[in-house]
């Protein structure tokens, strides 16, 4: 008897996935984004890339950067724990080719089926005053030592971190859940 697990294909809607960001300061030029999707042990990606990087974009009008980067992942799972999370890093690349991080953002992949417009808020670590001054004039600055740990399920060590608010990354995610009802899971 063939039985299938709840499969969580996470697909962008028909019109291509759109992500845009509001930078904190207008002078932030070229922005790119990396997005690993860590999930728990019970989850297994069946197809699709679980990490990727967009191109570098320069906002010309507004303060909004448009990437239109597609995310298409298909997971199979044996349990509800470890629901996949989206981990986003926004980087800045200037004319000299230097790169530093502008924000880290984390959000859950939506657990309800349908089309979701998710606004993922980002923040970046705040150094002490001297570092902040240097960052303001020269750029650069500290990033997280282990970004993946901040996204991990426990994340009990967040209180050690001091950060400042960054912009936000907008994602449009279409989520299809299959066979969840068979195991008595009501997703709304």
């Amino acid at each position: 008897r063939l039985h299938s697990d709840p499969i969580v294909p996470i697909e962008p809607p028909q019109s291509s996935h759109r992500a845009h960001r509001e930078p904190p300061r207008p002078r932030s030029a070229a922005l790119e984004r990396r997005r690993p999707v860590p999930a728990g042990a019970a989850w297994r990606p069946l197809s699709g890339l679980t990490a990727g990087q967009t191109h570098v974009d320069d906002p010309q009008a507004d303060d909004v950067t448009y990437w239109c980067h597609p995310i298409d992942v298909h997971y199979a799972t044996k349990g509800l724990q470890g629901w996949p999370r989206l981990h986003v890093q926004v980087w800045h690349q200037d004319a000299l080719g230097r790169r530093h991080v502008l924000g880290y953002g984390f959000c859950h992949v939506p657990a309800a089926p349908g089309l979701h417009s998710v606004r993922c808020a980002t923040w970046r670590p705040l150094g002490e005053r001297r570092e902040r001054l240097r960052r303001r004039w020269v750029g650069g600055g500290a990033g997280l030592a282990e970004p993946a740990a901040a996204a991990a399920a426990g994340a009990c060590d967040r209180f050690r971190l001091r950060c400042e608010a960054g912009g936000s990354v907008h994602l449009q995610l279409g989520v299809v859940l299959r066979h969840f009802a068979r195991y008595g899971v009501c997703c709304g």
């Binding site: 063939l2 309800a112 608010a165 899971v185 709304g188």
Partner: protein, 567 residues
């Protein structure tokens, strides 16, 4: 082996309209038989029918019928079997291509060679019926001059003209590889040639025209007498459009030619492709089924068939939550400390952490407010078990209490707000913005202290935000408690509920019945089960007691029973 299995999808319109067919087989097996006949006979196309007058509208024909002997009988009818993209030359083309100077493209030269070969072999077999294939210039021109509206003065637009010059290519010509990184993604100054090569219309449709040269006898090869008998368009997906449709049951199609005399030509089109034998068809079906079945098995093997289930009679609430942001607070460097309180019938697994502290975030100005972003993810897993005694009262849902605090550079610590959030009872996405308040004292001294040194009145028991856990009365009075409204915190929660009760599909239970009622059913079953248990225990005790009795007593009673049963 050829097969054509047309399943007519939709005849667009009757008569001159086309029909659409679908087939998965290679299109080169398509063959059509066309019969063309000058329409002087009144009946269907029969070569031996004598020419009859068809009506008063054809006086010219009557003259011809009168002269009769001048017209050779084989001109009246022609039959041709045409394969897909099979090139049959018209008289005009034969005349044209024999002239070497008329050949411009390699295709023309190829035609010329074929024509010369045909002429050497004794002329072409077809006379009036000929074809234009996809490669011919005719197809481009025909499409170029296609009219879209019924206006008389329609002229192709600039775009249509440019598109007509773009060479059509077939789909299998050049699949673009997107994965390889080309050295130059952008060409800043494209040349004309480059533009032409890259603005290719990859038309997936291949067209073929079956034409008839309907000129008067002896004067074949004039362009103005060429008429389209049939247009066949084949799509890459196996969609075949035949316009007009095959003449299966309808009569022959007619074309009226205004020439020296008005003539009526009739023609029929038939599908002459070889059909597949049924065994082969079945074999093909079996192969497909095996292939798909194997792939499905592979996929389900990857996925597996296990999934965590809950115990019967419990509801599992699984919340993927996120503290998104806090906005509208006075001071900077905010952080949120929260914990979840579980009421009586709720429990959580041992590893579940029911509290958390976010990072400290410096705010930024967004619009009128200062906002701090946390992006703090947490997951909560809780179980609800309904006891038998509390079936009447509604269960309490877990509550998330939180407080917003600020800690600044001078290590001044202040309470910014308290709030609470009841976890939603319905599954799905919930975006909640919870306003908060903080306690204040009368007088200015406390506020001054808060401003200069830090420290503010705090709640001893955060559950006071809703109902204090120590409260046991009927009415809660907060008289005398002063607070001040501060900002708000945004949460995003995805709630999932899992329970065996959702699998109930018996007709008695309605779809919208609440989970709790269904859970209650389990406790009823539990009580029935306990009664059964008690009965089983009693029966077992009785059996044990029976065994311990001395044997003669049992036999005596048995014989007594026998005796009583005998008459």
């Amino acid at each position: 082996m050829a097969r054509r299995r047309p399943q007519a999808m939709a005849a667009v319109s009757s008569g001159a309209g086309g029909a659409v067919y679908r087939s998965r087989d290679p299109v080169r097996n398509l063959r059509l038989r066309v019969r063309l006949q000058r329409g002087t006979s009144s009946g269907p196309l029969l070569p031996q029918a004598p020419p009859l007058l068809t009506g008063p509208a054809l006086p010219g024909l009557s003259d011809r019928a009168g002269t009769g002997a001048r017209r050779p009988p084989e001109e009246e009818e022609e039959e041709a079997e045409v394969g897909w993209q099979e090139k049959l030359f018209s008289q005009f083309e034969v005349d044209l291509y024999q002239n070497e100077s008329a050949c411009q493209t390699p295709l023309d030269r190829q035609y010329r060679e074929e024509i010369l070969k045909l002429e050497k072999a004794g002329g072409r077999k077809n006379c009036r019926i000929f074809t234009y294939t996809d490669h011919d210039r005719f197809t481009n021109l025909e499409e170029h001059c296609q009219k879209v509206t019924d206006s008389d003065h329609e002229v192709p637009s600039y775009l249509a003209e440019r598109m007509a010059n773009v060479r059509r290519r077939r789909q299998d010509c050049r699949p673009t590889e997107a994965s390889s990184l080309k050295s130059k993604i952008i060409t800043w100054e494209p040349s004309e040639e480059f533009i032409k090569n890259n603005h290719v219309i990859n038309t997936p449709v291949q067209t073929m025209y079956i034409m008839g040269d309907l000129g008067p006898y002896g004067k074949l090869g004039r362009r103005e007498y060429e008429h389209v008998l049939c247009t066949i368009k084949v799509d890459d997906n196996g969609v075949i459009t035949v316009k007009p449709d095959f003449t299966d049951t309808k009569g022959a199609y007619q074309i009226e030619v205004d020439g020296e005399k008005r003539e009526v030509w009739k023609y029929t089109i038939e599908n002459a492709s070889v059909q597949m034998k049924p065994e082969e068809e079945e074999r093909e079906q079996r192969v497909f089924r095996d292939l798909y079945g194997r792939y499905k098995e592979y996929l389900s093997g990857l996925v597996g068939s296990e999934f965590e289930m809950t115990l019967p009679g419990t509801l599992r609430l699984f919340v993927n939550g996120e503290i998104v942001s806090a906005q509208g607070y006075e001071y900077d460097n905010l952080y949120v400390h929260f914990f979840v309180e579980l009421p009586n019938q709720w429990s959580s697994p041992a590893f579940q952490q029911l509290s958390g502290v976010t990072q400290t975030c410096a705010t930024k100005a967004l619009g009128w407010e200062n906002v701090a972003y946390f992006s703090y993810l947490f997951t909560l897993e809780m179980f609800f078990t309904q006891g038998v005694e509390s079936q009447d009262s509604l269960p309490q849902w877990p509550v998330l209490y939180f407080e917003v605090l600020s800690l600044d550079f001078w290590q001044r610590y202040r309470v910014e707000g308290y709030g609470s959030l009841v976890l939603p009872a319905s599954p799905g996405l919930h975006n909640l913005t919870i306003p908060t308040w903080r306690p204040v004292e009368l007088g200015t001294v406390a506020e001054l202290r808060r401003f200069f040194i830090g420290g503010s009145p705090e709640l001893e028991d955060i559950t006071y935000v809703r109902t204090p856990s120590t409260f046991k009365g009927e009415r809660l009075s907060r008289f005398g408690f002063r607070t001040e409204t501060t900002g708000s915190v945004t949460f995003r929660l995805y709630c999932l509920q899992q329970s065996k009760a959702f699998l109930e599909t018996s007709a008695m239970r309605q779809r919208m019945q609440s989970v709790l009622d269904r859970l209650g059913g389990f406790s009823q079953q539990g009580s029935v089960y306990s009664v059964l248990e008690a009965f089983q225990r009693a029966r077992r005790r009785m059996q044990e007691a029976r065994e311990s009795l001395p044997q003669d007593l049992i036999s005596a009673s048995a014989s007594a029973v026998h005796q009583s049963q005998e008459p």
